[in-house]
């Protein structure tokens, strides 16, 4: 009867054409899980980043990602008549649909920054397209998300440049990070299994393959200027069936960590 729950004007699931709920849910889950998992991984830097400013910055970036994930989960909850917290915290690890790029552990600072830059640039391309989604609640949210992500892009690119331009250990670590996570970078933009339905309805306006080309063109000048090269993609990172499943041990550990408090008492509120 009275409520303070997040009720979005117009109703959360409103406007998704009948039959398209599962495909839309798949898209929302991909967006949300990417930000959720990356946000948790990056939050591990709080207290141990290279210097105080970066402690604050990484905490802010992580907070943004978790906020974005929460907003996507809220849209998804409206679509499926679910609860955002349950979607985030009550799923088994194998039900998460984050991309292979995000599945890697945070590693060292160079890997965190290299991965962030790859993710932020790919995510920016994806969001640029989704700002024109035919599903208004998503398009409206994405407009706001993009404004915040602009800060992330500047931060990640500044660090990649700083590390890659210093010969010796910093550059060596960037090269190692690229070698490890680079083959999985395209997984962020890999077509979703139900992409064709989303494209037909305009919920996703641009196909993943096209987004990937746009992304490659966007990052090429930066890589070139830094004399870096992205390794050949892992075939799994391009495969709709494998780009967002089959998670590794780093994610198992992260899942155990972020689920542990909730697991103590699933009914608890505060």
């Amino acid at each position: 009867m009275t409520t303070t729950r997040t009720v979005r004007a117009g109703g959360t699931g409103a406007g998704v054409p009948p039959g398209l709920e599962p495909a839309t849910a798949e898209l929302l889950l991909a967006l949300a899980d990417d930000d959720f998992v990356l946000g948790f991984a990056d939050s591990e830097w709080t207290g141990i980043a290279p210097h105080l400013e970066e402690d604050v910055a990484m905490s802010s970036l992580a907070q943004d990602e978790l906020g974005h994930a929460n907003a996507y989960y809220a849209l998804l909850a409206g679509l499926t008549d679910g609860d955002p917290d349950q979607i985030a915290y009550d799923r088994p690890a194998e039900a998460f649909r984050h991309s292979r790029l995000v599945d890697h552990g945070r590693g060292d600072w160079a890997r965190t920054m290299t991965r962030r830059w790859l993710y932020d640039t790919a995510n920016a391309i994806r969001l640029e397209a989704l700002a024109h989604s035919s599903w208004r609640p998503l398009a409206e949210l994405v407009v706001k998300v993009r404004r915040e992500e602009a800060y992330h892009l500047v931060h990640g690119e500044a660090w990649l440049e700083r590390l890659a331009q210093v010969e010796g250990e910093p550059r060596r670590r960037v090269l190692e990070a690229l070698e490890l996570v680079g083959p999985d970078a395209p997984s962020v933009l890999a077509p979703l299994p139900m992409e064709a339905l989303l494209l037909d309805a305009g919920i996703q306006p641009v196909p993943g393959a096209e987004l990937r080309d746009q992304w490659a063109a966007r990052i090429a000048p930066v890589l070139e200027a830094l004399e870096l090269a992205l390794p050949e993609p892992d075939p799994a990172a391009l495969d709709p069936g494998r780009a967002r499943s089959g998670h590794g041990p780093a994610f198992s550990a992260l899942w155990t960590e972020f689920e542990s408090v909730r697991g103590l008492d699933r009914e608890a509120t505060w």
Binding site: M1, T2, T3, T4, T6, V7, R8, A9, G10, E53, V56, A57, S59, S60, L61, Q63, D64, E65, L66, G67, H68, N70, A71, P137, E140, L141, V143, K144, V145, R147, E148, A150, Y151, V154, H155
Partner: protein, 175 residues
């Protein structure tokens, strides 16, 4: 800035004014110098039938103060529901992304309040996220300032330094 207050199907048009006055008294929990109305996060106050709905625009999506703001708005408006003169029997507080919150939504009074409490207000440009553009120092007014960190103690604040009066200060970010 409150847009589009509409009253439909209710004889109690004055209720919207009462609601506005109540909202103007609610301050931002992280910067108590400014009210949520002057901050521009109240998008709309709507009464449809017997339902009062307030739409709130987040400054930043992951703002942890959002739940507190929403709960406070609800608590302050809830008494209207038990007053039969208002004709209200339901209060909804909705978080909305119908339009992005931007610095342009901060009122003149809000900008003055921010400056008076040591925060540089963001530039009044709704189109751009401001990165690397020097803020006006809230202490001496100089634009000879630098961003020390785009990320500050809360999501909506950056850390700056004035090379003129040599004071560190915070800027409220454009969002």
């Amino acid at each position: 800035m409150i847009a589009a207050a509409t009253v439909q199907d209710t004889p109690h048009a004055g209720v919207v004014e009462v609601v506005r006055a109540i909202l103007a008294e609610i301050v931002d929990p992280e910067i108590p110098a400014i009210s949520i109305v002057d901050l521009g996060i109240v998008r709309a106050v709507t009464i449809v039938g017997r339902t009062l709905e307030v739409e709130i625009l987040p400054t930043f999506i992951g703002c942890p103060a959002l739940d507190l703001i929403r709960a406070t708005v609800f608590e302050r408006l809830e008494p209207l529901r038990t007053d039969p003169a208002t004709g209200i029997d339901q209060v909804l507080v909705a978080i909305s992304f119908a339009e992005p919150w931007t610095a342009a939504r901060i009122s003149e009074r809000g900008r003055d309040a921010l400056t008076a409490s040591g925060f540089a207000p963001p530039d009044d440009d709704p189109q751009l996220v401001q990165i690397g553009r020097p803020a006006a120092c809230p202490f001496c007014g100089s634009r000879r300032t630098v961003v020390e960190n785009a990320f500050g103690p809360t999501r909506c604040r950056s850390i700056n330094y004035c090379t003129e009066c040599r004071q560190p200060f915070e800027q409220f970010k454009a969002g």
